[in-house]
Symmetry: C2
Subunit: 386 residues, 2 copies
């Protein structure tokens, strides 16, 4: 374990775990949802709002921050926390996913991923080592290893080769991370005690997932992520992979399901032993007018809300639901006012964070099974007004 | 005076006045700056932020709200305050200025202004009476009469005809306003006790301004505005008009300088006896990257701020200056993040409201002259980085 980082499970309820992660920037109660602050800002909400609604750890994107403003600039300004004005814990991804999805003409080799910037066309090489260097300079509390995100669907053969490389990259990333921490490189970490998580790949193939889990655990990390899901596979397939992969990960380390998901995905995955989540859904969908409620999402631009005096979710205690009607939110969205995005984001993030709060309470009280059944009975994945 | 509305001057310092306006939604300390919430929302800040930074009264635009979502809908949802989630005082303009500047093919007659909506091309007629009706339904604490905003430059002849019509319209608007308040119409006011302000026009011609002031006072209103300024005339000309017009307005009624201005304009105009201001500058310029400081405005996108660790204004205590560097704000702006607009708006409005707070204190202490001299010695109208 990196100094300053720790994890302990305080309650169990079935496979669901209630715990606390200690980070250099303070403790995080798990299971936890991490709002996504891609470019060192969570679109639509300011740090104070995040703190007030109970967000404890925020995600930043290595790919974006490396290209602009640059990890060196962020480091000169005291690291990601000080730069973005968020003094709670943070996590950065490795940039791999964005290199593959946003980088132009991405070329993969054993060394790493060569790509052109989507901003100015300049050529860059991201390696397991450079991803660790960049993240050390950004200085999040948790860094991720560079992995190759296997596309879905992938043949077992392709998935196998991908995860073998991911395993070799994991070992290189870990070696570099430990060398940085030991002061054996010229990289000055912005946050001493930064942890590093490994990533289990393997697509939807159980044997490959097992092999990847074993290889990643063999390297040894402060925590473990399940990657390569929420990439188009059916949810039942995703739940299956989580169900089979989570128990193979060390019980004394946090488990992070990357890029997931809808509110019911969070509940289902906690039930399978997941501790951390991140997803752009609450923020991105807010900007597109999709608002989450306990009964399911609704599309606020729908004409049926033009005269609706009710709050978005009558059961929600967020500042938006306490103050504003659906009619007002619909009007702002249709008028194209930027505050529509701000209010919608505030509500959606509050909904996600409140759902996690309820999950944590249920595990503490040993009533998670009941909570899960009632949540899923009430919650519809489809828009209520479809 | 309308029931629920009142004004008293508590301190004088030269021509500067410190006072309190009582409205159906509570008191307003003057001199006051009113953030502009054109479409029932102040772009970039939420009602809670407005309250926290000390905003006391917010402006809404009759033209925009009449066209969308419609004054009838706003009335059905409890009026402007409840609709926008702002329980403090509000003021609506008459819509005249927007009809002339935004309305397509505007045709003016003695009846009123016929125009096509910029939203859907539909034809509408705004009259002194209908502007009063719409504003009664919107239910702001203060309504404005429909006036003809004289273009600058205007010949004395054109200006004279314009202000004669404005005077006739003022009488019609007042009659309608009183009839609504007396329950003699089928318009149900959303805020009982709404006040109505008259508007003095007359361009830059002193004799016309005097005639307009006399005609408007003869009609009789709860307050008086100086309109038709900040439309392209040199600031010295504006100051002259204010200097000659303000003393002609009743000493026991609030005086409102419409659509002004830069921070030094506020100081100069308070010195000439103005009590209320509104302006889009702090909000609109924030979205364009212009930030106000005690030394003058700066353009945050300038490359010189890329590594600047200082707050926007080292003398400012706003949440943005306490938490974020110029480097971060420049980065957010250049990256096109919506939170750049939110943070810039928060700072600029705070600067404007803080300037007014300092003005009020100075008048209370009888030190407004010193304050004014020091403010103007320090403040530059030109961008600091030009």
């Amino acid at each position: 374990m990196a100094a300053g980082f720790g994890f302990c499970v305080t309650h169990r309820d079935g496979l669901a775990r209630r715990g606390v992660i200690d980070t250099p920037h303070g403790p995080v109660d798990t299971p936890v949802f991490m709002p996504v602050g891609t470019r060192a800002t969570v679109k639509g909400v300011l740090p104070r709002d995040l703190a007030e609604m109970g967000a404890r750890i925020v995600l930043g994107n290595t790919y974006h921050l490396y290209l602009r403003p640059g990890d060196a600039l962020v480091a000169r300004h005291g690291g990601l926390h000080r730069f973005m004005g968020w003094d709670g814990p943070t996590l950065t991804d490795s940039g791999g996913y964005q290199v593959f999805s946003l980088g132009d003409r991405c070329r993969l080799s054993e060394a790493g991923a060569e790509f052109r910037s989507h901003l100015d066309g300049s050529t860059h090489l991201l390696t397991p080592e450079s991803a660790a260097d960049i993240q050390a300079r950004l200085g999040a509390d948790v860094a991720m290893v560079l992995d190759e995100c296997t596309a879905f669907p992938a043949t077992p053969d392709v998935a196998a080769r991908s995860l073998e490389r991911t395993a070799r990259w994991a070992a290189r990333a870990r070696a570099r991370h430990l060398a940085i921490a030991a002061g054996e490189t010229d990289v000055v970490p912005s946050t001493p005690g930064q942890a590093q998580f490994g990533i289990v790949q393997g697509g939807v193939h159980d044997d490959l997932r097992r092999a990847s889990a074993e290889a990643t655990i063999a390297v040894g990390f402060e925590g473990y992520a399940i990657g390569g899901l929420s990439v188009g596979e059916p949810v039942d397939v995703m739940y299956d992979v989580v169900e089979h992969t989570a128990p193979r990960l060390p019980a004394d380390r946090p488990r992070y399901l990357m890029g997931t998901g809808m509110p019911d995905d969070l509940v289902e995955s906690v039930a399978r032993g997941i501790d951390l989540f991140d997803c752009v859904l609450p923020t991105r969908n807010a900007r597109n007018g999709q608002l989450f409620t306990r009964r399911g999402p609704l599309s606020i631009k729908n004409a049926r809300y033009a005269e609706d005096p009710r709050p978005v979710d009558p059961d929600c205690g967020c500042p938006v639901c306490r103050r504003h009607s659906r009619a007002y939110l619909r009007y702002l969205f249709v008028a194209g006012e930027m505050n529509a995005a701000a209010l919608n984001t505030l509500h959606n993030l509050h909904f996600y964070l409140d759902t996690m709060r309820r999950i944590r309470k249920a595990i503490e009280f040993g009533t998670f099974g009941t909570f899960k059944r009632e949540f899923l009975e009430t919650y519809s994945r489809r828009n209520l007004n479809d």
